[in-house]
Amino acid sequence: MTTLSHGPSGSPGSHSSEEGDLVAGPAAPPPPGVRVRDLVVVYKTPLGELPALGGVGLTVDPGTITGIVGESGSGKSTLALSLLNAVQPPGRIASGSVEIDGLGDVVRLDGDPLRRARGRHLGYVFQAAQNSLNPLKTIGKQLLDLGRSHGVADLAALVRDAKDLLGRMGLDGARVLDSHQHELSGGMRQRVGIMLALVLNARLVILDEPTTALDMITQATILRIIREIHKERGLTTLMITHDMGVAAEVTDHLAVMYGGQVVEHGRTTEVLGSPAHPYTQGLIRAIPRLSGDITKASALPGRPPTLGTLPKQGCVFQERCPVRMDVCATVAPPPVTTHGRTVACHATAAAPPLDGRKEQP
């Protein structure tokens, strides 16, 4: 692996692309936006069908990097898969819609159109250490499989693009294409995963925990690459993580999930700087930091929800909430959008608003 010639990375949005060669040309369509409406995904369990997503609403603006954070089991992966209409059995999308610009409602897609959308329009990047590559085939062969599956006529050009992409991420493209998965390190595999998600010019990229299995330094590198590629290719990027720090490092927007709900959504700096939902507040308080008063950090009480322990009605967070009210036990708080900031909490809604204006989503 060779060096990336950048110095210390700057603040979000401060990157400028020195090598503009991969920037989408003028003919390229604008990056797609995503509108998730009342998405309900249920898993079949011995206890019956339980909702992993309980009516999620989320709007992703075109061209942004949006982070989705939440604890284990909060439904992040399920949401990510729903965007590709790829919820695995025993789960299924029960209702709702996922509108993606240029594709329409993917929930309604199936068969060949769905398959074609995946890969071509929607790129998906898996967690690094889990093997998202066929162990028996070289990366190059898998690339060709991908090309053939999507009817790419000029396979040589595809290989060229792949090499360019890999080179852009600091890898020796020819060598990587000639390797098997096990011959690559975790960081390299992750970059290969990103390459495969982008090589067909997908404009919406979804990354599910892209750095969880990597060590600190590699993680930093991958995060920077994500940021840069996003910028250069003009993508709409969704990044799922359970690590608030990782999300904070790269994203413009941040959605916080809890128990199958998006409880807060807004600009990253704002959500972190002035969290509105008690869950977000607790989460941020629970992060030990390198600077400042360490004793200020404190744990969020209670334990993370699972499908079986979620309250049947009312607010999903009610059991752990420090500002619980009576209404929380019976009525699920609707998401309220104020100034591009969406929060679903009775307490916040009741309290003096962050800002004077209120608007319905």
Partner: protein
């Protein structure tokens, strides 16, 4: 309570088609954990943290060097005689699921070591269940809820508490926590850290904290020492706050730079260091181990191996020919 000098460990990897390959996991590590103290080891993946932790907990033997527990050197003792010493040092595993036997209830899990303990100390059988309850309460869970359950019925945080309670059954003097919170949900992580901290304060057990997350090391051992390991070598060591705020070794600086910045709350450090190459086990063993990746390397670095030593403008020790303090950690953003 435990000190180690010149600990080395080399693994021979066998079963490979390519024949055996040596991995030098530890290359002469010195350390000391005082009674009631807290020491943290940090470092990249594969730098030997776990190996060292396991050696300290007596679960692994080292190749050379000496470990002294409460003044008694371990090398001359037979494995049998060593056991009581090492029983004072209990390891808390990283993965709280695999650390508990899935086929045994929490009650069974706790009972076994307590029975042993009761036999050793001549306590009555009734003490066992009572003690189990006490320990569970101590780690902050309701014995009534937890005792009859199987591990898979508990959340990660609860499981980790049970693991800690189990370690406490033998009244250890030291706990070795190897990445003990990395598999636990974000919202619960801190409560486990707090528990460990609390145990140290209340029971006076020493704490050896192994992590790759420096912020948690800071939380746990604010008054303790921090060791930075790189490829089996301690490259920097000192009081935790001092190493975090005034790192001198470029590797420490790189580690600290890699920590994601909480934009909105923090601003990135001005002098973030990015290593020039990824870690490769096959890098030459000649010269400074970090030289290949070091942006500040000189010719000397590629030839000579720097040793851990103090230096005049820093309060702690490091192994670097070109020590320089850099501001790499994020700083609190002004609200």
């Amino acid at each position: 309570m435990i000190t180690g000098t010149g600990i080395t460990k080399t693994y021979k990897q066998r079963g490979d088609v390519l024949g055996s390959r040596e991995v030098r996991a530890l290359r002469g590590v010195d350390f000391a954990v005082p009674r009631g103290g807290a020491v943290s080891f940090i470092g990249e993946s594969g730098c030997g943290k776990t190996t060292l932790g396991r050696i300290i907990a007596g679960l692994e033997t080292h190749d050379s060097g000496e470990i002294v527990i409460d003044g008694t050197p371990m090398t001359p003792l037979s494995p049998r005689r060593r056991r009581p010493y090492f029983r004072r040092i209990q390891l808390i595993h990283q993965d709280p699921y695999s650390a508990l036997n899935p086929t045994r209830t929490i009650h069974q899990t706790l009972r076994a070591p307590l029975e042993l303990r009761a036999r050793q100390t001549g306590r009555p059988g009734s003490w066992i269940d009572q003690r189990a309850g006490e320990l569970l309460s101590l780690v902050g869970i309701d014995p009534g809820y937890v005792l009859g359950r199987y591990p898979h019925q508990l959340s990660g945080g609860m499981r980790q508490r049970v693991v800690i309670a189990r370690a406490l059954t033998v009244d250890p003097e030291m706990l070795v926590a190897d990445e003990s919170v990395s598999m636990i949900d974000v919202s619960m992580r801190l409560s486990i850290l707090a528990l460990l901290k609390d145990l140290r304060e209340r029971l006076g057990v020493s704490l050896l904290f192994i992590t790759h997350d420096i912020a948690t090391a800071r939380y746990i051992g604010d008054a303790g020492e921090l060791y930075v390991l790189y490829r089996g070598q301690v490259v920097e060591r000192g009081l935790t706050e001092s190493v975090i705020h005034e790192p001198v070794h470029p590797y420490t600086q790189a580690l600290l730079s890699a920590i994601p910045v909480l934009h909105g709350l923090e601003r990135p450090g001005r002098e973030r260091v990015v290593p020039t190459e990824a870690l490769d086990e096959r890098h030459a063993d000649e010269g400074c181990l970090f030289a290949r990746r070091c942006p500040f390397r000189t010719e000397r670095c590629e030839k000579e191996l720097p040793v851990l030593a103090g230096c005049q403008d820093s309060s702690h020790e490091h192994a670097c020919f070109h020590p320089q303090r850099r501001a790499v950690i994020p700083v609190e953003a002004v609200a």
